[in-house]
């Protein structure tokens, strides 16, 4: 079974060529790597590649088959799946509606749009106060505000739907 790893829109096939103790030989796309891999803590690996030392922490995400990989300099969010099963971005782009959810519980400070407003991707729609900070919640797409589910001053729970935005084609 072919296995793919996907980082954003970029995906590659990964194959194990050989494993001997800590030495792992693997191919990704058409490139081959010989790695010296040691698990130093749960989910934490020390990887030596041609002498270069990498520390990597790998955390299983709540989303199935997704892994957060933290390296010394960066964070990746990588999906691992058999070829063909990856959820493409394409599909999601076909959705006509997007929702603005409350990422954490908080209080709605202000709503910066009214139904029917044309909004741009990244435009602030709701200001939510949480953890003593004001947080701007933005439209994920270019579209039209189709419904507003909350009022100003409302206290909302995590993942409450606040606003619907309908995509314009």
């Amino acid at each position: 079974m072919k296995i793919l790893a996907k980082n954003g829109k970029h995906h590659e096939e990964i194959k194990v060529i050989k494993r001997e103790g800590p030495m792992l030989q693997v191919s990704i796309g058409n490139r081959e790597y010989s790695l010296d891999v040691e698990k130093v803590e749960d989910g934490v690996y020390s990887v030596l590649h041609n002498g270069t030392s990498h520390n990597m922490e790998i955390i299983k995400s709540e989303k199935k088959h997704f892994y957060a990989v933290n390296t010394q300099y960066q964070s990746f969010n990588i999906e691992i799946a058999p070829a063909g099963s990856l959820k493409g971005d394409k599909k999601r782009q076909g959705d006509k509606n997007e929702q603005i959810l409350a990422p954490i519980p908080g209080k709605v400070i202000s709503i910066k749009a009214t139904p029917g407003d044309v909004v741009k991707e990244g435009q602030t729609i709701v200001v939510l106060s949480a953890m003593k900070m004001e947080n701007e919640l933005k439209s994920p797409i270019d579209g039209i505000v189709s419904k507003i589910h909350v009022k100003e001053d409302a206290v909302v729970k995590e993942n409450s739907v606040l606003v619907d935005v309908k995509a314009v084609d």
Binding site: P22, V37, H54, Q74, I78, I80, M131
Partner: protein, 502 residues
């Protein structure tokens, strides 16, 4: 003599205060809200008592309950930390009425500095420069327009009782003036029950520079130099440093001198901070005085060597300051980065969650003041500040290098943090050169939000290791166990060196 201090706070500052208590042989009493039962200040204090549920209004702001806890635990003093009740004159008054020592200034000084218009008047009297502005604005629209024109647009409308942006309005054009005043008044009335507003000149590219003050109960007031706090995002300080890379020695002398005068004008006792705005031409103006310990106090502790919490306690004990102004020196350069549980990639959304791993930066010139631990669950109830990283070095250049090294070492996972964003600040040319004002973040937004360069092999390795972790559950070939390297293999144990040569 203070023997037992109740710390009316939580988080890193509660831990930090308890540390100085412990070093001074003073017992510490923590208070906690229900969700803070497992918080570090509870675990670290000698005693800990519950004061109510999560919302601060019912716990950390519950004066009655806090005073009751002080009585019950036999505390003889209360340290308010910063935030919460630290600048609440009523609390200071009630603590003293209860026969306890309030580790902070008099209620009168808190009141005087808490009312912005009153503070302005006091400063003018004390010869401390203030931003050109008005007294209390009336409803006389033509008079208001005249004042604004004299000051020069743009102007800021501010609420006298205000703070944190409420009742504040920036007015760029004359035709917007009076409607803005009306809106500010109504906002101020709603927020503070007082519709007094005044007008100030709006400074375009100011520096936010503050001076640390200590005053004792014997009339001595000294300063501990300045802190440069211009790296701010939406009025939230992120990085502070001392000395300021901006002001020359001559201005430093003038500012610290005026800061002492400002504190003297209210017979200030304890630790306090006089905040100034400094314009591009080195004109400085009194902004406000914070009548408490400041979040960023550790950088001053590092360059002056003075433990500010111990100094506060000694002052509260009635002891005179142990140094004269000329005996207070500073050396080297210190920088603080505030570590927030927030996600810079999602518009700095603060995040709650369980901390999985922490690697603290250690070694030469590094201090961290934090309160989270592995397994700790950050809650949504409070400020997302989880730690402060302070470095010191002989020069500013070395301090920036050291901060980069420390940020590189600092790993917190399980919750999103701004650590990588701070690393980018340290790499921003304007910051590296020390040429920045309060618009730094906005001016460098593109650079700051850009991800690190990742070459193909770095992405490849991340994908491979995600694959390894994923497959390890089903494919024996990819199972790696802790400690497989054979270091426990006694068989290879051979000749040992007999003596430790060090």
């Amino acid at each position: 003599m203070i023997r037992k201090i109740l710390v009316a706070n939580r988080g890193e500052i509660a831990v930090r205060i308890i540390r100085s208590c412990r070093e001074s042989g003073i017992k510490s009493v923590a208070i906690y809200s229900q969700p803070d039962r497992t918080s570090m200040h509870v675990r670290y204090a000698d005693e800990a008592w519950p004061v109510g549920p999560g919302p601060s209004g019912q716990s950390y702001l519950n004066i009655e309950k806090i005073l009751e806890t002080a009585r019950k635990s036999g505390a003889d003093a209360i340290h308010p930390g910063y935030g919460f009740l630290s600048e609440n004159a009523e609390f200071a008054r009630q603590v003293r009425e209860a026969g306890l020592i309030f580790i902070g200034p008099d209620a009168e000084a808190i009141n005087a500095m808490g009312d912005k218009m009153k503070a302005r008047e006091l400063m003018i009297k004390a010869g401390v420069p203030v931003v050109p502005g008005s007294g209390r604005l009336t409803d006389d629209e033509s008079q208001n327009l005249k004042i604004a024109t004299d000051i020069g647009f743009p102007v800021m409308i501010k609420a006298s009782a205000g703070g944190g942006g409420k009742g504040m309005r920036l007015v760029e054009k004359p035709e917007e003036l009076n409607s803005s005043i009306r809106r500010a008044k109504s906002e101020a009335l709603n927020a503070f029950g007082d519709d007094s507003v005044y007008m100030e000149k709006y400074l375009k590219s100011p520096h936010h520079i503050e001076v640390q003050i200590l005053g004792d109960t014997h009339g001595n007031i000294v300063h501990l130099f300045e802190r440069e706090c211009s790296v701010q995002r939406r009025h939230q300080k992120i990085v502070e440093e001392t000395p300021s890379p901006f002001i020359p020695e001559k201005i430093r002398k003038k500012m610290t001198d005026r800061a002492v005068a400002a504190a003297a004008s209210v017979n200030y006792t304890g630790a306090g901070t006089v905040e100034f705005l400094v314009d591009a031409d080195m004109n400085f103006y009194f902004l406000e005085m914070n009548t408490r310990l400041q979040v960023e106090h550790p950088i001053t502790e590092r360059t002056t060597g003075i433990d500010l919490v111990k100094a506060q306690i000694k002052i509260a004990n009635g002891e005179p300051l142990p140094w004269k102004q000329k005996e207070i020196g500073k050396s080297g350069h210190a920088i603080e980065c505030r570590i927030y549980a927030e996600d810079p990639e999602r518009n700095f959304m603060p995040g709650a969650g369980t901390v999985l791993h922490i690697t603290e930066p250690l070694g030469l010139g590094v201090r961290t003041d934090g309160y989270i631990y592995e397994g700790y669950e950050i809650t949504v109830h409070y400020d997302p500040l989880i730690s402060k990283l302070i470095v010191w070095a002989q020069s500013r250049e070395e301090a920036v290098q050291r901060m980069k090294r420390a940020l590189y070492e600092y790993k917190i996972t399980g919750v999103k943090t701004n650590i990588q964003f701070l690393e980018r600040i340290m790499n921003t040319p304007d910051f590296v050169e020390g040429k920045y004002d309060t618009h730094f973040i906005a001016n460098n937004e593109e650079f700051l939000m850009k991800g690190e360069n990742c070459n193909q092999s770095c992405e490849d390795l991340a994908m491979i290791m995600a694959f390894v972790e994923h497959q390890s559950h089903v494919d024996k070939r990819l199972r790696f166990n802790n400690g497989q390297s054979g270091k426990s293999n006694w068989k290879e144990y051979g000749r040992l060196h007999r003596f430790n040569p060090f």
